[in-house]
């Protein structure tokens, strides 16, 4: 059974027609949502999390309609890392990450030792050990991004939704974060993330969803969906493709470069690896 499903889901984006979307996402899959700016990637993620009402259709979590589950129950099964965050008030890194435990605690409960251990594990997973007492507002953009990822790690839901998880991250932490997300998927979690970098999707995702501004979408395994022609159509940008480390890499084509380029050859790549 699918863990997260969208049935006839039309996103509610003001002043824009959207076509109904069908998605079936099962445990162990890592989905990358790709599309040009303003295509509705964030709206899709928020709609799947139940934070934004759709125009039509519905979202199903473990087969149940999202609206039938309470907010707290949803938060135990599904978590979301936002692209933008508010840090208006001072909070220490460990306080911020501890908020991931909120859905599991009743009104009168306080965080216990197990919650503390989960926070510690989340902090070390995102290279934040030693930052516990730092104020979030004093951190760099990349460090704040890792605090948000660690908060989702402490929340430990079955479905991980992430809006541009690699924003502000340096190459090492990008790679570490994507490896950790893949690891979570191997352990049966479901991961779906909006990415502006198509190459991260090609390298780390099992599935991709191409979201066009007109509302049409293509979904499927990355090696079927991440085609040069569809990506050129998606971004309205001529691209060149090459292969590095067994994964396709797409770059905007330089003006004046030859019209065609070598498509990646799967048989050769597996040999070279």
């Amino acid at each position: 059974m699918s863990r997260l499903a969208a049935r006839g889901l039309a996103l509610a984006i003001p002043g824009r027609a959207t076509r109904p979307l069908e998605l079936e996402i099962t445990p162990g899959q890592v989905w990358g949502v790709l599309g040009p700016n303003g295509a509705g990637k964030t709206t899709l993620l928020h709609t799947l999390a139940g934070l934004h009402a759709p125009r039509a259709g519905g979202v199903f979590l473990d087969g149940e309609p999202l609206g039938a589950l309470g907010r707290r129950e949803v938060a135990r099964r599904l978590g979301l890392v936002f692209q933008e965050r508010m840090d208006g008030f001072p909070a220490t890194v460990s306080e911020a990450v501890m908020m991931g435990r909120h859905p599991y605690l009743s009104l009168f409960q306080r965080e216990n030792a197990e919650d503390g251990e989960r926070v510690e594990a989340a902090l070390s997973a995102f290279d934040l050990a030693g930052f516990e007492q730092r104020l979030v507002s004093s951190l760099s953009g990349g460090e704040r991004q890792r605090v948000a990822l660690a908060t989702l790690h402490a929340q430990d839901p079955a479905v991980w939704l992430l809006d541009e998880p690699t924003n502000h991250l340096d190459l090492h932490h990008q790679s570490a974060a994507m490896a950790l997300l893949s690891e979570q998927a191997r352990r049966g979690r479901t991961v779906m993330m909006c990415l502006h970098d198509v190459n991260l999707a090609a390298r780390w995702c099992s599935h991709a969803l191409l979201l066009h501004p007109g509302g049409e979408a293509e979904a499927g395994p990355v090696d079927e969906v991440l085609e040069l022609a569809s990506l050129e159509r998606l971004y309205r940008q001529p691209l060149s493709a090459a292969e590095i480390d067994g994964a396709p890499v797409f770059m905007p084509r330089r003006a004046g470069a030859p019209d065609t380029c070598d498509p990646p050859d799967p048989s050769r790549s597996s040999h070279e690896r």
Partner: protein, 329 residues
Amino acid sequence: MRPPSNDRRPGAWPVALIALALAALALALVSGSATLSLGELAQALAGNGGALANTLVFDLRLPRALAAFAVGGLLAVAGALMQVLLRNPLADPYVLGLSGGASIGALGAMLAGLGGLLVTGSAFAGALLSTLLVFGLAQGRGGWTPARLLLTGVVVASGWGALITLVLAMSPAERLPGMLYWLMGDLAYARTPWPPLMVLALTCVLLWPLGRSLNVLARGPLQAAALGVNVRGLEWGIYLLASLLTAMAVTTAGSIGFVGLVVPHMLRLVLGNDQRRLLPACALAGGTLVLLADTLARTLIAPEQLPVGVITALLGVPTFLLLLYRSQP
């Protein structure tokens, strides 16, 4: 900003704040036109005081001191709640025009020659009307944003200010001193300290289980919803509660400004923003601040009394400006 240092001694702050509150209470009970010694105060509290000491402590000073404490606690908690609601440390019942609405209600009743409970009821209605007006208008089209709410509050507050001036201009001269004192806050109007004290105690009990949800809400409504908080219910709840607390405070002692701004700000620097610590600390420290301010107000130029709001405004204005100066664009 330095990180909250509380984690090293987690149990220290309630003891310190309670000790401060008791010291302020003792100071309020001994100070005044006839100064008591601490020994005389102890005797009176133990039931062996003279007639004069008993009258001073139990009939005059204790009710007023308790009212001052309750009003301060209410205003500080209301301020802290509004700051979470607006996710803005500049929010305060006074800045948002709630106190102004209560004032115009009270002054209108006084101008009409009403007295006693009718003034109180009218102030309460004014505070609620102002709250509805500010939040209703800030809702605008498509939901409110903190910036729009704050600006709406500021504009509505200045509107109340103009109406207050109008009422003052129309009022007969003999009523003016009472009205002016009421406008700046005056605990001489407090009849009995028990209603505000009860409301303060009930509020602390009611907020006890909500602290963690408020912490999550302070990180933004979407984040809070994603972590399982019923955002709409919680926001309406704390908004109504904050209005009620303000109305209660204003009807007890008139319009005392900036307590809701200064106290949570100071405490946040020391304790951090964990609402489970911050809200009870606000109740204690807000009470202590207004108690001290009232003691100063009635002793500085004795036998004349200053409006207590003068003292709190003299503290609040620089704090507000400092906060604005330091806030990020």
